[in-house]
């Protein structure tokens, strides 16, 4: 893979990551926030894969770890969101200040 392609891949990764960050900050729906978090994880995965072309296989191994953790996180996160929804009948994070307590 040529350095040009790596650069493109890294730019895409950065763009995806930034979109994820902005989404997490600005969106109010907990599920969308959750999706944006996944987007950031996958942006990182893209960076790992791109760098592994240059530096060896280690990056691709890390990607599997990230995917495994992301899957676990998705399970826990969705469970929390469902619990909150059952309680409040809503998933708008602006309405909760549960983390204060």
């Amino acid at each position: 893979m040529s350095p040009v392609l790596i650069r493109i891949a890294l730019l895409v990764s950065a763009a995806l990551f930034a979109i994820g960050v902005v989404g997490v900050i600005l969106r109010r729906n907990a599920i969308v926030i959750f999706l944006c978090v996944e987007l950031m994880l996958n942006a990182v995965n893209l960076s790992f894969v791109a760098f592994s072309r240059l530096l060896g296989i280690d990056g691709q191994v890390a990607v599997f770890f990230v995917m495994a953790v992301a899957a676990a996180e998705a399970a826990v996160g969705l469970a929390i969101i469902i619990a909150i929804f059952r309680h409040y009948e809503d998933v708008d994070v602006e309405r909760f200040d549960l983390l204060k307590w």
């Binding site: 900050i25 994070v93 602006e94 909760f96 200040d97 983390l99 204060k100 307590w101």
Partner: protein
Amino acid sequence: MYHPVLPWLILALPLAGAALNGLGAFVWRDDRKLATLLGPAAVGGAFVVVAINFFAMLSAGATGPSVVHLWSWLVSGGLDVGIDLQFDRLSMVMMLVVTGVSTLIHVYSIGYMRGDPGFNRFFAYLNLFVFFMLVLVMGASFPLMFVGWEGVGLCSYLLIGFWYESEEYSNAGKKAFIVNRIGDFGFLVAMFLIFRIFGTLDFVPVFGAAPGTLQFGGAWATLITLFLFLACVGKSAQIPLYVWLPDAMAGPTPVSALIHAATMVTAGVYLVARSSVLFALAPLSQAVVASVGAATALFAAVIATQQWDIKKVLAYSTISQLGYMFLAVGVGAFATGIFHLMTHAFFKALLFLGAGAVIHAVEHAWHGTGRHGDPNDMRNHGDLRRWMPVTWITMWSATLAISGVFPFAGFFSKDEVIWKAGVLGYPLLWGVALVAAFLTAGYMARLMALTFHGGENRTFDPGAESGAREGLHAAPAVMAIPLAILGVLSLVGGWIQIPEGLPLPHVAALEGWLEPAFEPAHEILAAHGGVAASTSPLGGGELTWGLVSTVVALAVVVWIFRVVVRRRYVRADEAPEPAGLARVLYRKFYVDELYDRVIVRPLMALWRGCWKIVDDGLIDGTVNGLASGTRAVGWVGSQFQSGRLGAYILLFMVGVLVILGTLAF
């Protein structure tokens, strides 16, 4: 050799009386039998023990002091003060006067306080007062004397404010206490100085070492005695600290008689007499004592001439007579001062008790008629002699005594004071005292004429009201007997001391008795040229001036009496404010107002400033500022913990960016 008989019992009896009566005030509120019996008995018992000791001392012919050590009290480093009682000739005279007069006044109080709800409490305070007064005169060291000194001040405060429901009365109590504190400061400083120089505070070693240790007229002797005199000025109501005594008349009349006339206020005279050696070493202090005494004698006598309140007249009269005592001890005639103290205790106690009987009778006479007014105001009295013969006659005895008419007690003691001032080198004070003596005769004649005489000229006497005349009653026996005893003492009390110059048998019983106590002081004075002249500053011997003063005093009494008795007076609540000079005198030279402006208000303003600026502003401001500052910082921190996910993530991102940025550059 003289050994005091049961010395501790003299103190224990009044103290036990105070404790039991105090208990009675709580437990048997309405039962007066115990206090009626116990109050006078405790003090009377003390008098008996004192009398036994007196005769024991007399028969033993003891001249020096006998000190009884009861137990150790303050032991610290070089300081060793015990509860030691001193029995010598001076304290014996004081003990006799204190317990004797107190016993009579206790008996009188049974009648006077009969209807008062605080009967038991009254006797508890009165007994406690006698206890502290005895500590004062029997203490063998300055600190023990100071205990008594403070204790009588406390009892004085309690008894002035005895009717504490009235704010005016309780303020009078506070005033007495606070003004006395100024004097107490002097006592404390004097004690510090004495301990610094002598290393002990017991009377016998201090006075024994004084002539050898202190330089005659030196700074230390002067300083110590001036501070001691400051204490006397407070306790004995001399210029400028006399202002508390007239207000102290707020207390029940027996209290005025006992504390504010006969005993406590003479403590200052006793202190000067007790410290005669120190004062003899300080001629400047002696001059100050004599001058203040003479000035007070005149000043208070002038005020007394224009007072309408019978007790106020007597209060100023007391201040004036205390001035005489200080004049005597100031010029070095210590025995004469004590002599006047003793005769004054008799006739002034009598005058107050008589005034109390008058007030009591007038108040009761009005009680049935619904008339209200000030029973103390002499314009509301008049012609009372017809209803109160015993009071009337005994009061005349005391009036002639205080006016210095031969052969009543005051003639011998007061003329002796004036004479001693003249011959011991104070011609100016001699003149002042002489003028004050004639004023004394004047205001006393005015008092008698207003209260007991006047006949038809007294249109507003209590008898003129319908029904009030029947309500007037003479003093009951329990009040009349003490009056009669004091009346006799006012006559004969002076006969123990008849000066040599008169064509009478020369008697010097008291002077001879007290001579051992004052001998060291007299030796010092004699060594430094204090020789008594044989004639007065204007010439003439003691006989001449004795005649002059008794004739003039009698003339003044007759003159003022005739003037006042014929004059008509409107009753007190309709009387206009006096005008001109009389107003200045009635307002007591505006001294209270002056003190209010010059001392009380600036101090109040200063303390208000301290309160508002220093306490509220500085101290509270610092503490409260620290608290609110902490709170503000906490509030800022708390804003980060909003609990909102979005805010947390934003902060998280900012944090990451900051860390990354720091790493990058």
